[in-house]
């Protein structure tokens, strides 16, 4: 045990760019991926992390001082920077429990299928970061590894059950596919409930909006570069740092919003060797042969619908306004503003593609999301330290708006904090 601890400590001192490649090799060897492929994957992951950290450095030096200055001027408590979902996801993959969580949750999925408890085979390996995140936040805040692994398993189990249950909503358009995507599925019951509510309110219940027309109007405003530039410019201007600084900050944030996901794509590319092998293993397994399975995939698959895109674009200013006026909110939305249509696309689906109702539901859910994301900020900041990453100067706390969708890990987190 001491050898393992020393090894983990050795890796942690080098940082996430060294930890995750090792984990990729460990997991890969267990599921028998050829070593040559693993080494390339490990190096790709390291490159992705180094690129991601470079972007975080730019984020820290450009926007963080403007946010702090603006918050002070306006008397706001916006202390947690939304760095976008890709950052905590990457940290989760580099957390020392990641290989254990990966094998454990995949094993639980197989057992659940064999016992007839789920029809979903979750092959969306990259998104196992949700289960790794659940374990990591509990572990960094409590030091209780058993509770941390329990949080990961329960998150996994509930995501699978939600995927089975929600299949009826998407079966017509996506037969044979379910969405065991812990990032997005947990708000489905509330979205359905809210849709029922909008259906009984006079004046609201008859409103319809045509997504095809709206998307032509809003099109480009969902571009992360535009969002980054406008946001960086306005925040710096409000902070009173001058037009020149505002332009430069806008440009820096535009670069970060565009390039950060590209860096994370390299991480994903590294993980893909694991994903491909897992899919081969599962589909070739004698145990699963003959079973009518649903293939569990990323909820992002649902986003190509015009209604979701419109909702995501319209929600950008709404979320910003809510962030500024919501009591108790500490999150300054930023990194995830470009992917709001992915976070809350179920609001539109549950409203049967009625964009107006989808936006109303997303507005309610965005407030809850901001609270949860704010609540997670101290744990995510600790998690960053846990993978050997020091926040750039000027950054106080980090979080991601998308983490506000992680209801099950959050419930565990709140429960753990009670004891």
């Amino acid at each position: 045990m001491q050898v393992i601890n020393s090894f983990i400590e050795f890796l942690q001192q080098m940082g996430a760019q060294a930890i995750m490649p090792v984990f990729i090799i460990i997991i890969g060897l267990v599921i028998r991926v050829p070593l040559k492929d693993l080494i390339k994957a490990a190096l790709t992951v390291a490159v992705g992390f180094i690129g991601m950290f470079a972007m975080m450095g730019i984020l820290g030096s450009s926007i963080a001082p403007s946010v702090a200055s603006m918050a002070e001027k306006m008397g706001l408590q916006l202390t947690a920077l939304d760095v976008g979902w890709t950052v905590p996801a990457s940290f989760a993959w580099a957390y020392y429990l990641a290989p254990v969580v990966f094998l454990l949750t995949f094993g639980v999925n197989i057992v659940m299928i064999l016992l007839g408890w789920t029809r979903t085979l979750n092959v969306d390996v990259w998104n196992f970061h949700n289960f790794m995140f659940a374990a990591a936040v509990i572990d960094v805040t409590t030091g209780n590894t058993v509770l941390a692994l329990a949080a990961a398993v329960i998150t996994n189990v509930t995501a699978l059950l939600m995927a089975d249950w929600a299949y009826k909503l998407t079966e017509k358009d996506y037969p044979g596919i379910s969405f065991a995507h812990a990032f997005t599925v947990y708000w489905i019951p509330l979205s359905l409930l809210l849709n029922k509510l909008w259906g009984i309110i006079p004046g609201v219940k008859k409103v319809q909006a045509d997504p095809e027309t709206l998307i032509k109007k809003f099109g480009n405003w969902g571009d992360p570069m535009f969002i980054g530039f406008i946001l960086g410019f306005l925040i710096t201007l409000v902070a009173g740092l001058g037009v020149q600084a505002a332009i430069l900050t806008g440009l820096s944030l535009a670069a970060v919003m565009l390039l950060l996901p590209k860096m994370v794509a390299y991480l994903m590319e590294g993980v893909s060797v694991i994903a491909t092998r897992i899919q081969e293993v599962a589909e070739g397994s004698k145990l699963l042969r003959g079973k009518e399975l649903l293939i569990g995939v990323d909820g992002g698959l649902l986003i190509g619908r015009p209604g979701s895109i419109v909702m995501g674009v319209v929600m950008v200013p709404i979320v910003l306004v809510i962030a500024f006026i919501l009591p108790g909110n500490k999150t300054i939305p930023m990194g995830d503003l470009a992917v709001l249509y992915g976070l809350w696309q179920w609001t539109v689906i549950c409203a049967k593609d009625n964009v107006f109702r989808g936006i109303l539901s997303a507005t309610v859910i965005s407030a809850l999301t901001l609270w949860i994301a704010s609540d997670f900020a101290p744990a995510v900041t600790l998690m960053a330290e846990g993978v050997g990453y020091a926040l750039p100067a000027g950054m106080n706390q980090i979080t991601a708006l998308a983490l506000g969708n992680e209801i099950i890990p959050w419930l565990f987190y709140r429960l753990a904090l009670l004891f």
Binding site: W85, T86, V123, D124, W126, N127, Y174, G176, I177, I215, K216, G219, N220, W221, G222, D223, P224, M225, F226, I227, L258, P261, K262, V264, A265, M268, E269, S272, A275, T276, Q279, E283, I295, V297, D298, G299, G300, L301, L302, I303, G304, R305, P306, I309, G312, V313, A338, V339, Y341, G342
Partner: protein, 102 residues
């Protein structure tokens, strides 16, 4: 067989996970065929700009198109590349289309 490099844009929710998965699968197919490919990945907000500035041949997404696609760009649903079902059929359709643009 295409005589020039085929430019492909992938789009998905964040321009990260599914785009990369589809990219890897399509690159493998192109490599097997000995065809040249150049790709870009992005979210749905980014792709209209990429259409204008980069002028790709193919646009591959998960699910719907997400945005208005110019007539010069052929859209394919890349779902089979993610779920590993119907992949061969998709490759055949892409190959057949590429024959027509030369």
């Amino acid at each position: 067989m295409p005589s020039r490099t085929i430019k492909v844009v992938f789009a998905c929710g964040a321009g990260v996970a599914q785009c990369t998965a589809m990219d890897i699968q399509l690159r493998k197919f192109f490599k097997e065929k000995g065809w040249a490919i150049e790709t870009k990945k992005g979210n749905y907000g980014e792709v209209p700009g990429t259409f204008r500035s980069w002028k790709p041949d193919l646009y591959i997404t998960t699910g719907g198109t997400g945005v208005t696609v110019p007539d010069s760009i052929k859209h394919f649903d890349g779902l089979p590349l993610i779920i590993n079902r119907g992949k061969e059929d998709l490759f055949n359709r892409i190959a057949a289309y590429l024959e027509t643009i030369e």
